[in-house]
């Protein structure tokens, strides 16, 4: 269950729409891919310990960890991550080309939308639009959107 974040100041996050977040970089390291492959079931007969191309199952993790580096919960979203629990809402990704092991990707993002919703409690949905480029060819690897649920 999420923990509500009590505050006396009403937060209007609508003003955040259009804000460009900081650019982040991430190297698709052999170690990370190897650790990930240790968790996921491997196809029978597979002998490749570390592939040249990361599995597409690894791609959403790159989007998530990359995006987490593009913002600060408190400074950018006015959210106290120590006391409040943020949740993933929705994620959409368009894949432009495979993700290569050992390439460095650049993640750029902006706040695409903010809206309030009500369930058992009120929460804001913050939607980021992102682009991920690889340094292997400077081309887009993924583009998409990721939303976070921020409890008030």
């Amino acid at each position: 269950m999420p923990i509500s974040f009590a505050t006396s100041k009403p937060i209007d996050r609508k003003a955040l729409i259009g804000k460009v977040l900081r650019t982040a970089n991430y190297r698709v390291s052999t170690e990370d891919v190897q650790d990930f492959m240790g968790v996921m079931p491997q196809p029978s007969g597979s002998t490749e310990k570390v592939p040249q191309i990361a599995p597409p199952t690894f791609a959403p993790l790159v989007a998530v960890l990359g995006l987490l580096r593009t913002f600060d919960w408190s400074a950018d979203f006015e959210f106290d991550y120590r006391d409040g629990t943020a949740m993933f809402g929705e994620q959409s990704i368009e894949f432009h080309r495979p993700l290569y092991v050992n390439e460095e990707v650049e993640i750029s993002a902006m706040i695409n939308d903010v809206y309030e919703k009500s369930g058992r409690q009120k929460f804001d949905v913050v939607e980021l639009a992102f682009k991920i480029k690889g340094d292997r060819d400077g081309q887009l690897v993924m583009t998409g959107k990721q939303s976070y649920i921020l409890f008030k």
Partner: protein, 148 residues
């Protein structure tokens, strides 16, 4: 409902066919450690059972991207090549806990004919053993045509 074959060619499929369901698990709490390290996210909700239980949860919460990775695994294994994956849209609905079994399935919603390859559009889902929806969404992938 007709079940679509594995690694299908474009000509093998029709709208409304079900994708062959796949079961993953039981989920293992020790898998959350490498995922936390990869994500650089050491939120105790994913790692500390007591911390999670003090907050009303039955156990540590499996990271959302790991749930998603299992749904990707299901869909990309069905395609001829994993990177035939073209796009995804995923909605996170509920938490996964250690020992949960994840069932993944889907249905063909659309087929687009192309010159080199066709595109299949599918509705996907992931549920636990109790039938609670964990993830829902869509995915599209490239399909080769039958070799002549």
């Amino acid at each position: 409902m007709t079940i679509a074959p594995n690694k299908p060619y474009a000509e093998d499929l029709t709208i409304g066919m079900a994708l062959p369901t796949v079961k993953f698990g039981p989920m293992d709490r020790f898998d959350y450690i490498p995922i936390a390290l990869i994500l650089r996210d050491t939120n105790p909700l994913h790692l500390d059972r007591v911390y999670a239980q003090e907050r009303g949860l039955p156990d540590t919460v499996q990271q959302g991207p790991l749930n998603q990775a299992y749904l990707y695994e299901f869909f990309t294994n069905w395609l001829h090549q994993p990177w035939d994956l073209a796009s995804t849209e995923i909605r996170f609905s509920a938490n996964v806990f250690p020992e949960d079994i994840l069932h993944c399935g889907g249905e063909i919603e659309g087929l687009e004919v192309g010159e080199e390859y066709d595109i299949v559009h599918c509705r996907l889902w992931q549920k636990n053993d109790e039938g609670i929806s964990i993830l829902t969404g869509k995915a599209s992938g490239r399909l080769p045509k039958h070799p002549k």
